[in-house]
């Protein structure tokens, strides 16, 4: 499934919530389902310090496809991170580089990616893109 299609699937999933409470409850579920990082994986190198919440991210390239792991001390941040991962997991660096992650906007969570938000999510996307660029150059 392309990044585009995965984004559409997520948008459809979220379209059933007309109440913000249900939407956030779902985010919390998603956050809880994301495999936590082990303490050893929570290194300073993997850390994005968002001031308000901490976010760790590990990016790898396996067989030409990108793989992600992430964790956060805040559950909503973690839930959104899990959505971002779902959209990008297993894609080529080139596709990741080109991806426009508009689904966050469309499911009404854009404020979490605003540059003034101190949760690290925007920095996470930047870091993923930086990795993709590096992998792409090497390839």
């Amino acid at each position: 499934m392309s990044i585009e299609k995965k984004q559409n699937a997520i948008i459809e999933e979220f379209s059933i919530f007309d109440d913000w409470m249900d939407k956030y409850a779902y985010l919390v579920d998603l956050g809880n389902e994301l495999t936590p990082l082990s303490p050893e994986e929570k290194t300073d190198d993997n850390l994005i310090d968002g001031c308000q919440s901490k976010l760790w991210i590990i990016v790898e390239l396996k067989d030409g496809k990108m793989r992600f792991k992430a964790d956060s001390d805040a559950i909503i941040t973690k839930g959104i991170a899990s959505l971002l991962i779902r959209a990008l997991e297993g894609e080529t660096p080139k596709d990741v580089l080109d991806a426009e992650l508009s689904f966050i906007d469309k499911i009404g969570l854009h404020q979490h990616l605003s540059p003034t938000r101190s949760n690290g999510l925007l920095a996470m996307i930047k870091r993923i893109k930086a990795y993709a660029m590096a992998f792409n150059a090497k390839a």
Partner: protein
């Protein structure tokens, strides 16, 4: 004090956030402004605006008078002995920096000690730390007790022969603690050490009388006392201010300049380089006047009841732990909730129209003391109501269910 009338003076309180009525409980960060404050500034801009001092034309004289009257009004409000003991700054932060630099240039030598407490806002911590580094002096940090109060005994023993200045917050912006500054100043003065009081969180909630406190310096921010941004006040005793070298250089703070020799102006202008924010000074005066017209004592009483109610209600919530449980507190309610990250709670409360702050509140040493990464902080002002507190509690409960 008629709360419904008061609320009408603050247009923003009628705002809806995501379709829900705004409940603004982030007053320790900044307060909302009554119409009269904005009107005072608009009136100045549209009728009298002109750069102040040294102009001989009508507008300049009117703006200058308005500015100097504001200074006088503020001097009276905090009971300063002299009007020229009031220095306008951009805010509390600049006031601390001014004193740390100017007092420091004159009085701090290698090996000297500067005493602050562990509960200081970064703005009353970092400037002293920077001074200590510049002068190879030592910054001594007095820890607070588990309940978030300061021990007078420990304070007294922290003062040594090398202590040259002490800076303490009147009210903690995280713990809500009201520190016994008058008593602390007495103790410090016995050792001949001057004391700077950070009144950023007290000026709007308590009666502050600089002569009664006998503090040597005191500072607060306009935007936290219903006034505009960009203005603050530094009070300093005449004698100390007179002895200190100037901080910033430029227009206004100069009496005369030749290529070789600069003569500095007298107080308060010596410390006010550049065009002052005269419009905001007039806005701040209007804000204080607003408070005084209601009656400071009435405000204190109203807030005291509201605060007691809020404390009681919050403590009903299971798994909620108050951070800062000193006997004397005001306005600030900081807490953590079992298994819930403050950021998550802040984010979800926002969706209910409730504005609280989450995080470290620019006081990381306090977080480190308790070994927490942040708190949720609700802080009340004179326009908040018990009904709003009820809504807060109701939503904290609801969200707690979702988040855990």
């Amino acid at each position: 004090m008629n709360i419904q009338n008061i609320r009408k003076d603050f247009p923003i309180l009628k705002q809806e956030i995501y379709g829900k009525p705004l409940i603004y409980l982030d007053n320790a960060a900044t307060t909302q402004k009554p119409v009269s404050v904005i009107e005072a500034m608009n009136d100045l801009y549209f009728r009298l605006n002109s750069n102040i001092h040294r102009g001989v034309h009508y507008l300049s004289e009117e703006s200058t008078s308005a500015h100097e009257n504001a200074r006088k009004y503020i001097a009276d409000f905090i009971h300063a002995k002299h009007t020229h003991e009031i220095i306008f700054t951009r805010g509390t932060t600049e006031a601390v920096n001014l004193v740390a630099f100017s007092f420091g240039e004159k009085n701090i030598q290698q090996g000297d000690e500067i005493l602050v407490t562990e509960m200081e806002h970064h703005s009353n911590f970092v400037p002293w730390k920077m001074l200590a580094e510049r002068k190879s002096a030592k910054l001594i940090v007095l820890p607070f007790e588990e309940d978030g109060s300061l021990s007078l005994e420990k304070f007294q023993s922290a003062i040594t022969e090398k202590t040259k200045i002490i800076s303490i917050t009147h009210v903690s912006n995280v713990l809500g603690t009201i520190n016994p500054v008058k008593e602390m100043i007495r103790i410090a003065h016995e050792a001949d050490v001057p004391v700077f009081v950070d009144a950023a969180q007290s000026i709007q909630h308590l009666s502050v009388d600089v002569q009664d406190l006998d503090c040597d310096f005191l500072a607060f921010s306009g935007h936290k006392i219903y006034g505009p941004t960009g203005i603050g006040v530094l009070y300093g005793k005449e004698k100390l201010l007179d002895e200190m070298p100037p901080y910033q250089g430029g227009g206004e703070m100069i009496s005369s300049v030749s290529l070789d020799k600069i003569t500095y102006n007298e107080l308060p202008f010596k410390f006010e380089a550049g065009t002052p924010n005269y419009v905001a000074a007039i806005g701040l005066q209007a804000a204080i006047k607003y408070l005084e017209d209601i009656g400071m004592q009435d405000v204190i009483k109203y807030e005291h009841d509201l605060f007691a109610y809020a404390t009681e209600q919050l403590l009903q919530i299971e798994g909620l732990k108050m951070i800062g449980t000193a006997k004397k507190k005001t306005s600030v309610l900081s807490f953590v909730m079992d298994g819930i990250h403050p950021y998550d709670m802040g984010t979800m409360l926002d969706k209910t129209g409730i504005a609280v702050r989450s995080g470290t509140h620019c006081a990381e040493p306090v977080m480190q003391h308790y070994g927490i990464s942040g708190t949720i902080r609700a802080s009340v002002a004179l326009y908040n109501t018990k009904a709003e507190i009820d809504k807060l509690v109701e939503n904290l409960n609801k969200i707690q269910m979702i988040l855990s």
